[in-house]
């Protein structure tokens, strides 16, 4: 618990980070920067877990443990995503989002 700071302020902070990440996810044109936006989103949610655990249920540790899991997942996801990006770069010599529109009809 931080003196003088209620849970509202911290949740506000994490929400802002989350939506900044969402904005970045929508607008970025480069796959690596999109990946960075995802990191922001994940961090915001990990922060939420920790804060809610500390402020509301200090007797339990679930939130703390899950934040660790989130970090592990995020690391794994990053490694995999970067592997895919590098492979894509080998194939199409680009990591721009507009070059990945093969899904289109």
């Amino acid at each position: 618990m931080i003196e003088g700071i209620s849970i509202y302020e911290i949740l506000t902070l994490s929400s802002i980070v989350f939506f900044v990440g969402v904005y970045g996810f929508f607008t970025r044109e480069n796959l690596i920067t999109v990946l960075m936006s995802i990191e922001l989103i994940l961090n915001a949610s990990a922060l939420n877990f920790v804060i809610i655990n500390t402020y509301l249920y200090p007797d339990f540790l679930q939130g703390a443990v899950f934040s660790i899991f989130i970090i592990a997942m995020a690391a794994a996801e990053t490694a995999l995503a970067i592997a895919i990006i590098i492979n894509l770069y080998k194939l199409v010599a680009s990591v721009e989002v507009k070059d990945t529109e093969k899904l289109k009809y």
Binding site: L13, F26, Q62, A64, A76, I86
Partner: protein, 168 residues
């Protein structure tokens, strides 16, 4: 003191996260992201959860950022400027984000949180017991699953990144 520190950290986080998603130079964007992650670990330290703060610093600050920088260096020139996003897209995305933020904040501020009174700091030893506990409320199974997942991701990342050469 802690209050002031929190506000400083919050300001850093907000400013640098916005900078990170809007900078047109990719290496700068990565650096801004690093600042955000370090600031978030500062918040973990502030709430006396120093273990997670340390993990955040090492895994994110040390691992993920380095990984991203390497991939940037592999596929880009350092001085390369990113393409400009169409303004229309920026507006739509900004609108959705702002509305989403608004509704989230509104939900947060209308919900009456009841703060716990028996505050205590989170000990590393407790985390360890919890993670490896197989009794009531233990997390040994997810822990193992995560470890297997990490292994699989490692193998998968190697296989995918190795890929196929273009001329084959």
């Amino acid at each position: 003191m802690e209050t002031i520190l929190f506000y400083i950290l919050s300001a850093l986080i907000v400013v640098f996260s916005i900078a990170s998603v809007s900078s047109r130079k990719i290496l700068r964007a990565v650096t801004y992201l690093l600042f955000v992650l370090i600031a978030i670990s500062g918040i973990y330290f502030l709430v006396d959860y120093s273990f997670l703060g340390a993990v955040q610093l090492t895994v994110y600050g040390g691992g993920v950022i380095v990984l991203i920088i390497f991939s940037v260096l592999l596929v880009h020139h350092i001085e390369l400027e990113l393409e400009v996003t169409p303004i229309k897209r920026k507006i739509i995305a900004g609108l959705i984000s702002v509305v989403g933020l608004g509704i989230t904040l509104w939900a947060i501020y209308t919900f009456p949180f009841t703060n716990a009174t028996n505050y205590k700091s989170i000990e590393v030893a407790d985390i360890g017991r919890k993670l490896l506990g197989y009794g009531d409320g233990g997390f040994i199974l997810p822990f193992e699953v995560i470890s297997v997942l990490l292994l699989a991701v490692m193998v998968g990342a190697i296989v995918i990144a190795k890929g196929k050469k273009l001329n084959e």
